[in-house]
């Protein structure tokens, strides 16, 4: 059987079955519900084991803890109840579950898992009000409030990662933590999680966990170092725990089957019992068993690692053999495969991250960002697209879920046009997914940052858009989110920041810009301030990383990863085959355009002097209408995104300077630091806290998203794509998000998809010989009118899926600033490639901040 045998790549005749459609409908109705099972068990067993008294907690300590939790978790098979929003608050409703996949991340249909080891205590003040907050409420019962308030949270007051770091760090670290708490310069995410990575499910699927246990036992028995012996025993403990959980689910399914009177449901339960007795302990022998193994391991990974950016990797490659064998044997139809994948997608979305109200307002709307990758090339560079690629694509179209976040790989020199066209068609159908990645550029970026060619070719997408070798790369791609315009601010004001008042010297002086005689001098000042901001963020990341090593080893992840078994080392200690820390840079286009504006108006034309420009910034351009008009006119002031050599050169200089500032930095696991350009919703959050910038952006306005040129100043699509494609992929190894908005305009769907495909191919081919072409691109294909109506009547658009800057989200869940930012993004008509002009969308009343 060849890899692609489908006659119709779109599989348009396949629709959701009524039971799956009904379950999906219940899913959309359900609000997330806080689940206290995990924190209660973790706290209880930590107390019993005396872990709160330890300065160091070993992988074996953690493994014994997780094994007990896995053995004692409630074996949830089918959910029957959830809560929905009504005019009077939250109300319970019932539904019929029909999933072939038993077990769940929490005990709830759509749960909020609580990780008190990290930032969950931020929910404490809101426990009585969280079920009625305006932004994304969670259901929580009074009993659960009391459990968290009395039995869980008090024990973690001094034991969360952040507070251990504050207590164990030096005074300088505490000063940096004060900077972190201001939200102005950077976010460092290790107090919340590491997570962002792709586990390796291949051994679990192909050999079964029993074989991995036996391997760990053999390593343990051979090891001379007691610490290594303990580590291998830790792997045994957690894998036995996962098997125990599967057996509990099997037992529960068998008992339910015995009680069930409906013949179809009785048989379905018996089948679940049969499968869960076999896997994940033994090798998967069918496609469904393979999916089940992935699912059960996935729930275990989330028991240990917070649900932020953990990703599943290349499932169409992992499960292809099982799928093919079942199809060839007549044991599976394509329709049944789509159905199974649809059910798995729904399971994967069974949890949402814990986000306090302030987080919802700043960064809200994000799911757990569980990326799945399809397509691409194999380790030898050959076409790896197969029928399962198309099955997963069809399931994604039918389910239209925020999680999982589907990403498709395309190689311009390997893949045919039909595959790319199908990917573009899926974007038109869903409005926002999958994101598309150019293998040629990504592989070049990864090999430049330490992957071998084979490892790079086997990359999967992590979290939003970050590439890393599948199952062997512990990259914490979201370790740092760095506000690039804050470095510009410090350079403009010689180490001061308007947010803190001009009396406070925040960073070392880099020279008074009024005395600079050349643009090169200003760039040097910017470079110094960038280096300072970067150093603060990296130092904190290192501190938090060391705290993780002291108290939060991750034996479950280590058991499902390439490297720890060979090295006898937890991933947190550098056990993975590949290590790194990722930095997401926010505000690239704003800084690039600001540099170009200063260069053009002050140093080239002498149209205004530096003192005058700073006065305009301080006054938020009040009284400087001429300057604002000039800055916002791309025909008179060069802007990144118009294929303009001066503006694009500044953008290239920036990404090269950022890469250079990280070169030589080695993280606590022995890995490098990699920059990327994706922003999630942080371009709105960070934008609120900065005054006017020299590119004509006014105080408090959003920065541009991802690596995307600024909205409203790039009238032609092809020019925008060419500018972005000029950025060298070697400087973008932590991924990019190029966010484009297309108007579904002329009614001729076929022609629209053809134009769509041509635009993407042009971007991936642009400057291909030199740079590899554009690296990544993602879309919103929804009309301006629909977006505006969705703001006015969210209930009619409760399933409207959008690409934010990396991940997908439901438009209704986004804060007003983010909704405005998406509506105001430059929108291109596919028929002509020209931007469509709309009035700037007004921010909802009362939504403005700061």
């Amino acid at each position: 059987m060849s890899a692609v045998t489908l006659d119709d790549l779109s599989l348009r005749d396949i629709q959701l079955s009524p039971p799956l459609a009904a379950l999906r409908e219940a899913y959309f109705r359900a609000v997330p519900e806080v689940c206290t099972e995990r924190p209660a068990l973790i706290t209880r067993f930590s107390l019993e084991a005396g872990l709160f008294q330890r300065d160091r907690i070993t992988a074996l300590d953690k493994a014994r803890l997780y094994r007990r939790v896995l053995e004692n978790r409630a074996p949830v098979l089918w959910h029957t109840r959830a809560h929905k929003r009504t005019a009077d608050g939250l109300e319970e409703f019932t539904f019929v579950d029909s999933s072939p996949f038993a077990g769940s991340t929490t005990t709830r249909f759509k749960g909020v898992p609580i990780y008190p080891e990290f930032l969950a205590l931020g929910l404490w003040p809101e426990l009585w009000t969280i079920s009625r907050r305006k932004a994304n409420p969670y259901y929580i019962s009074e009993d659960q409030v009391r459990t968290l308030n009395f039995d869980v949270f008090p024990h973690w007051l001094d034991h969360s990662i952040a507070e251990l770091a504050r207590a164990r760090g030096a005074d300088e670290d505490r000063r940096r933590m004060q900077l972190l708490q201001k939200f102005v310069f950077f976010l460092v995410s290790k107090p919340n999680c590491i997570s962002h990575t792709i586990p390796d499910f291949s051994r679990a699927v192909r050999e079964g966990l029993r074989a991995v246990i036996q391997d760990a036992q053999a390593h343990r028995d051979r090891a001379g170092d007691p610490a290594k012996k303990d580590f291998y025993q830790a792997l045994v403990e957690v894998l036995e725990g996962i098997i125990a959980y599967a057996r509990n689910l099997a037992g529960s399914a068998a008992a339910m089957s015995n009680r069930e009177t409906d013949p179809a449901r009785k048989a379905a339960l018996a089948e679940i019992a049969h499968i869960y007795r076999r896997v994940p302990e033994h090798p998967a022998e069918s496609f469904r068993e393979g999916l089940t193994t992935v699912w059960l391991c996935w729930t275990a990974v989330h028991l240990e690692n917070p649900n932020v950016g953990l990703s599943l990797g290349r499932l169409d490659q992992l499960l292809w053999d099982l799928y093919r064998r079942d199809i060839e044997a007549g044991a599976l139809t394509v329709e049944q495969a789509v159905e199974l994948v649809g059910y798995l997608w729904l399971k994967i979305g069974d949890h949402v991250p814990t986000v306090p109200n302030a987080g919802e307002q700043l960064f809200g709307g994000s799911g757990s960002n569980q990326a799945i990758t399809i397509g691409g090339v194999d380790a030898a560079g050959r076409d790896a697209v197969n029928d399962l690629t198309y099955v997963m694509l069809r399931a994604t179209e039918l389910m239209k879920l925020r999680d999982p976040n589907l990403n498709a790989r395309y190689h311009p020199e390997v893949h045919d046009g039909a595959y790319l066209r199908r990917l573009c068609e899926a974007n038109v159908t869903t409005g926002a997914t999958p994101a598309l990645h150019n293998d040629r550029a990504v592989i070049r970026a990864l090999t430049a940052s330490g992957h071998t060619l084979e490892q790079a070719r086997d990359y999967g997408v992590i979290g939003c858009v970050e590439p890393g070798s599948n199952g062997r790369f512990y990259g914490h791609s979201g370790a740092i989110l760095l506000n690039l315009p804050s470095a510009l601010e410090l350079a403009l004001f010689n180490g001061r920041h308007r947010h803190f008042g001009m009396d406070a010297q925040i960073s070392p002086e880099s020279g008074n810009p009024l005395t600079f005689g050349s643009f090169a001098q200003f760039k040097e000042a910017f470079r110094k301030q960038l280096s300072w901001v970067m150093d603060q963020a990296v130092a904190l990341n290192e501190l938090f990383g060391r705290i993780h090593q002291q108290v939060y080893p991750t034996p479950i992840l280590s058991a499902l990863f390439e490297g720890p078994m060979e090295k006898g080392q937890d991933v947190i200690d550098g056990g993975a085959a590949l290590n790194s820390s990722g930095i997401a840079i926010i505000g690239l286009a704003d800084v690039a355009d600001s540099l170009t504006a200063l260069e053009t108006l002050i140093y080239r034309e002498g149209r205004i002097d530096f003192a005058g420009f700073l006065d305009a910034l301080r006054k938020n351009y009040e009284g400087y209408d001429w300057l604002l008009t000039r800055l916002r006119d791309p025909h008179r002031t060069p802007r990144f995104g118009n294929d303009d050599s001066q503006a694009d050169a500044n953008a290239v200089w920036l990404v090269e300077t950022i890469e250079e500032s990280l070169r030589g930095k080695v993280n606590y696991r022995g890995g490098n630091y990699r920059p990327g350009y994706w922003t999630m919703t942080n371009h709105a959050g960070f934008g609120r806290l900065l005054g006017a910038t020299p590119n004509g952006r006014k105080a408090g306005e959003n920065f541009s998203s991802g690596i995307t040129p600024n909205s409203g100043v790039t009238p032609f699509l092809t020019s925008a794509l060419r500018s972005v494609a000029k950025l060298p992929p070697e400087c973008l190894a932590n991924g990019i998000a190029l966010n484009l908005k297309f108007t579904p305009d002329d009614g001729d769907r076929g022609r629209m998809i053809d134009n769509f495909t041509a635009a993407v191919r042009g971007y991936f081919d642009a400057d291909g010989d030199r740079s590899g072409g554009g690296m990544e691109i993602q879309f919103n294909v929804t009309s301006h009118r629909d977006f505006v109506e969705a703001v006015n009547d969210p209930s009619r658009y409760d399933q409207l899926l959008v690409r934010v800057s990396g991940y997908t989200a439901y438009f209704k869940d986004l804060n007003p600033e983010m909704q405005k930012e998406i509506i105001d993004r430059t929108e291109y008509r596919l028929s002509s490639g020209e931007a469509v002009l709309y009035e700037t969308f007004p921010l909802a009343k009362g939504a403005a901040h700061g």
Binding site: P125, E126, T129, D158, A162, N357
Partner: protein, 162 residues
Amino acid sequence: MANAFTRTTLRLVSPALPGRAQDWLVRSLSQPLAQQFYGQITDQFLELLLRGMDLAFALSRDYRRNIEGFRATYVWKTRDGSLACSAVFHDGNMTVDTQARPNPDVLITFKDARALWAFLLSEDQDALDSILANTVEVEGNLNYIYKYGFLARDLSKRLGVL
């Protein structure tokens, strides 16, 4: 604050009362604080909040459970230095000082009473705004702030405001 005699007396008497009666007493004796919870903020907000907590700890067994085994020192001060006070939790008690104690677990510096109210009690985005606008600054263990935020809101719930 209630003096030691009053506090002890209330603690001795309150167990004889049902929980709802305990909450009724707290509500009846904390009317000025309830007004603050409704958003009518005055400069006495912090003092009234601490007094209300003190009363609730004395009267309500359930509320008192929040501080059993809890040891922490909080210091509040206004940015201009015009007001400073401390609350020390120990052995199931809270004692309040009208000066800043040294080496607190958490130090909260705030611009004015409204900023502090917004930070601790507002359900909307005022709390976020107070941080973003630099009207409240916190040094020390943030988890202690979260706990205090719960205590404040739990009290407001008992006062029938939440």
